[in-house]
Structure formats: structure tokens, C-alpha cells
Symmetry: C2
Subunit: 239 residues, 2 copies
DNA sequence: CGCGTCCTTGAACCGCGTCAAGCCAGGTGG
DNA sequence: CCACCTGGCTTGACGCGGTTCAAGGACGCG
């Protein structure tokens, strides 16, 4: 039975085929041989670890990546899910060490550009540097808005937000074409900044309201519009 | 009696006299007549409001500014205190509207650069654009680290953080040269993301431990090192 | 079949926000 | 000069939401 396939083919970052993140990819800027700088990372391996020195940045050519940050008592928090065409490691660029770590969720191909190469590309290409600068500006806005909203949300709202975010990033198709989420309760909790217990509670509550249903342990977002509506007061985009 | 004067003369942003934020100031880039683009804003007035369109960015030449963001039910949150030499309005640059508002805490002189002027300056000057890009990258790191730590702190820790942050931004000298804080309980609460009641509680607790003392309603950070130590596990910088 | 892992759910605890009452200082008007 | 009012600060009491702990169930795997 083949009722499972990738939902998203456009850029995850902005849902736009001509998104400038893609335009900034190595192929676009044409300065580097993408093939030459390509690296394969196996499922489960770190692409870079938290607090490791920054040698450059990465562009994801194919695969899914989980960006994590551990808090003061060692617990892991997922700060981002990234996929094809995304920039990776830019948070560290210009600093000494990576403030976050990146783990491959499946086999991943990345294109690695080291600091020197990048600097040359910036210097040679105004458009590229300007686009990256604008990218950072946008990231800053998004980051601050997200943390502002997160602080005001209840646990239930944060869990719903996490479900929608996952479905936009890694969504598969479940029954009737609704998004299917295969991450564990713990991983959802790591995104929603809570614990697995609360995620479980919220899910049973959503089940009773028929907004989600189950396929084994996997979660089907049955009433996508309803879910979106319940956190619409905060935002319209989950990335 | 003249036991009150400004503590800080270096750049608030990074405690560094040759900080690149200053290097990016209009005088440095030498493209614009700073005098010509200078605007005076009276105490209490908005420099720009939340959700207003972005026409350009500002450099504070002199004065103190409170950057605020209102949450879902209209309450105000202080996201930043800015002083001489700081960039202002950069969060909005590249977007449609300002995600935050800026209020003059005293009479303020700013230098305004509109979008077109700025674009020309970027295009003409690689160093400038590169520095601004790096500035954004650093802001992104700082913003994310701050929100990560904030989420893990208790109310007491957040209030202490707010006190230290204020003292680094707007610190005056009180008795024995210790920093003196003249903001109201409510304003401190707006920084610490809590309410005035809790701030009051924390302050009496700190008074009992002799970490702060009072001069009327104003707060003297008597044991600066002790206060810093109590939140050292989170960070070493408050800006 | 037994074991481990993940999920679920109830119960207890606790931090923090809210409300209300009281206090103090400064300002105003009689 | 005193009476009164107002706005900010302080402090106790209370309740809600959410985290934590513990016990039990479902499922897969050797």
C-alpha cells in the first residue's frame, strides 16, 4: 500500500519556489562546484555539535535535519527542523562556536562552504551578500516573534504549534491525505518546550475533539484547519 | 551633592570602544552628512511605533531609548534598552513593518538613513554591508540565547538579570559608587517578563540578603558580584 | 514468553500570576 | 496648616496551570 509520500516539494522555509534561500545555494552563485564540496552524513550522526568551532556553513541538498540546543540541565530542545535547500550552521557564522547542534534524521547530503570560501564569495558577489544579510534580518524577526508568542502560549497551544510545524517541515500523507506525524511524543515535547506527559494529555484531548486521530502511535492531523484556527491569534506561519 | 554620574562611556552593546556598531555609524562610512540626517525626538515620544511601515534605520547619536513589543493582550514588554551609538530599527529592515516600537526615555538625537540611501551605501561599500551582516548574525545568536535562558530562569533570576541589564545599559552611580536603578517596578517587570508584585517580592528578598539596598524607591545594587554570581550559570553578558 | 520501550493517566506538589488590602509620599485645595 | 486624594510600592491569600512522579498498559523483539 502506497498511501505515504512526501507532501512538500517547495522550499520549507517560505513555501516559495523562488525563495532566496534556494537562490543562494551553491549552484546559483556558481562560484563553487557543488559536487566537490558535497558531504554525506548518515542517519543519526551529527553534522556539527553544540559548542564545536565554526568552520563554515552548510546547505542541505537532500535530507532532514533536526537542530537541537541543550538547556542548563542537559535536556534537549529542538529549535528547528530543516530540509532540502535550507541553510545550516548560519547561527554560528561569525562566532567562535556553534550555539546549536545538527543531527541527521535520515541520510543527508550537504554542501559545505568554509569561512574563507564564503568570504571570497561575499566579496565577489554583492547580490549574494545582500541576500544573506536580508536572510539574517528575517531570521532575527522570525526568531523574536516566535519566542514572544511561545512565551504567551499555553502548553496545548504550543503542542498544536509543534504539530503544525512538523507537518509543514516533515509532513507525510496519512489517511485521506491528512498530514501524518511520526515523531515520538518526546520529540514533539522537545519542540513544544514541555514534556512527553503533557503531549500525551493534549493529544487525547484533541482526539476527543476529533481534531487528530491515530494510526498506531503516529498522529494524523484530521482537522488541519481547526488546528490552525486554534492558534491563529498568534501567527499564520509555523516556520 | 554630586555623587551621581553616568557609569558607562564605552559602547553599551559590547563594552568595546572599537565596536563595529560604532564603526558602522554614519560618520564612519562617510557617505552621509550626519548633521543633515539628524532628528531630535523629545522625551516620551515614539521614534517609531510597532507595526508602522519601515522607511529606514536609525543610529542613536545621543540619548536613551526603550524598545518595546506588546503582547497578545496589549501588555507592554521591554525587549531592549539602547543608548549612544546603537543601531535602532534594524529588526524591521527588509520587512514591511516594525515588529517593535521605540520610545525616547530622555531627549534623543538620532541619525535616520532611509532604505534607498542605505542600499546605495551597501552597494558602494563591501566592508559596511559585511559588518552589518555580521551584526545581524550576532544579534540572532544573542536573541536566541537570551530567549533560551529566559525560558529556564525562575522569576527571581529574571529580575536579577533585568537589574544587571539595566545597570549595564543605563546605570548611574548611587551610594559607594554602586549602580543605581531608577526605573519603576513596572518597568523592571516589563523587562523580566513578570509583574510588579513579583518584582517587589524579589527586591525585599534581595534586601534581606543585603544584595541590594534602597534610596527612596530607587534601587542600589550593593553586591554586584553576588548578583552576577547568582545567574552566572546562564550567561556572562546581559546585553 | 519475558523484557524493554514508549505511551497513557491519575495524583501530588509548587511556582507564579492575580486579587485585594494597606502603606507611604507627594501634590492639591480649602 | 491640615485634610484629602492619587499613584506607586508592599505583602498576604488564593487558585490555576503545568511539571513531576509513579503505576499500569500496549506493542515489538529476541
Amino acid at each position: 500500500m502506497n498511501r505515504r509520500k512526501r507532501v512538500t516539494t517547495q522550499c520549507f522555509e517560505c513555501k516559495n519556489a523562488s525563495c532566496f534561500v534556494k537562490q543562494c545555494s551553491p549552484e546559483y552563485i556558481g562560484l563553487i562546484s557543488a559536487k566537490k564540496n558535497q558531504i554525506k552524513i548518515n542517519k543519526g550522526q551529527y553534522i556539527f555539535r553544540e559548542d564545536s568551532p565554526v568552520f563554515g556553513i552548510y546547505f542541505i541538498q537532500q535530507g532532514r535535519v533536526k537542530v537541537v540546543s541543550s538547556n542548563i540541565d542537559g535536556k534537549e530542545q529542538i529549535v528547528r527542523l530543516a530540509g532540502d535547500g535550507h541553510i545550516l550552521g548560519h547561527r554560528g557564522y561569525g562566532g567562535e562556536t556553534h550555539p546549536v547542534g545538527a543531527v541527521a534524521q535520515n541520510d543527508v547530503w550537504v554542501c559545505f562552504l568554509d569561512n574563507a570560501l564564503l568570504y571570497d564569495a561575499f566579496k565577489a558577489n554583492f547580490e549574494f551578500l545582500y541576500a544573506i544579510m536580508m536572510f539574517y534580518s528575517k531570521e532575527l524577526r522570525k526568531s523574536e516573534q516566535r519566542s514572544k508568542y511561545f512565551a504567551q502560549m499555553t502548553v496545548e497551544e504550543r503542542v498544536i504549534f509543534a504539530l503544525l510545524y512538523i507537518s509543514e517541515s516533515f509532513g507525510l500523507e496519512g489517511m485521506e491525505g491528512s498530514p501524518l506525524i511520526t515523531l515520538s511524543r518526546q520529540e514533539i515535547a522537545d519542540i513544544a518546550a514541555t514534556n512527553a506527559d503533557q503531549v500525551s494529555r493534549v493529544l487525547t484531548s484533541l482526539k476527543n475533539r476529533e481534531q487528530v486521530s491515530m494510526e498506531g502511535k503516529n498522529i494524523i492531523l484530521a482537522d488541519l484547519e481547526g488546528l490552525k484556527k486554534s492558534i491563529a491569534r498568534y501567527t499564520t506561519s509555523y516556520s
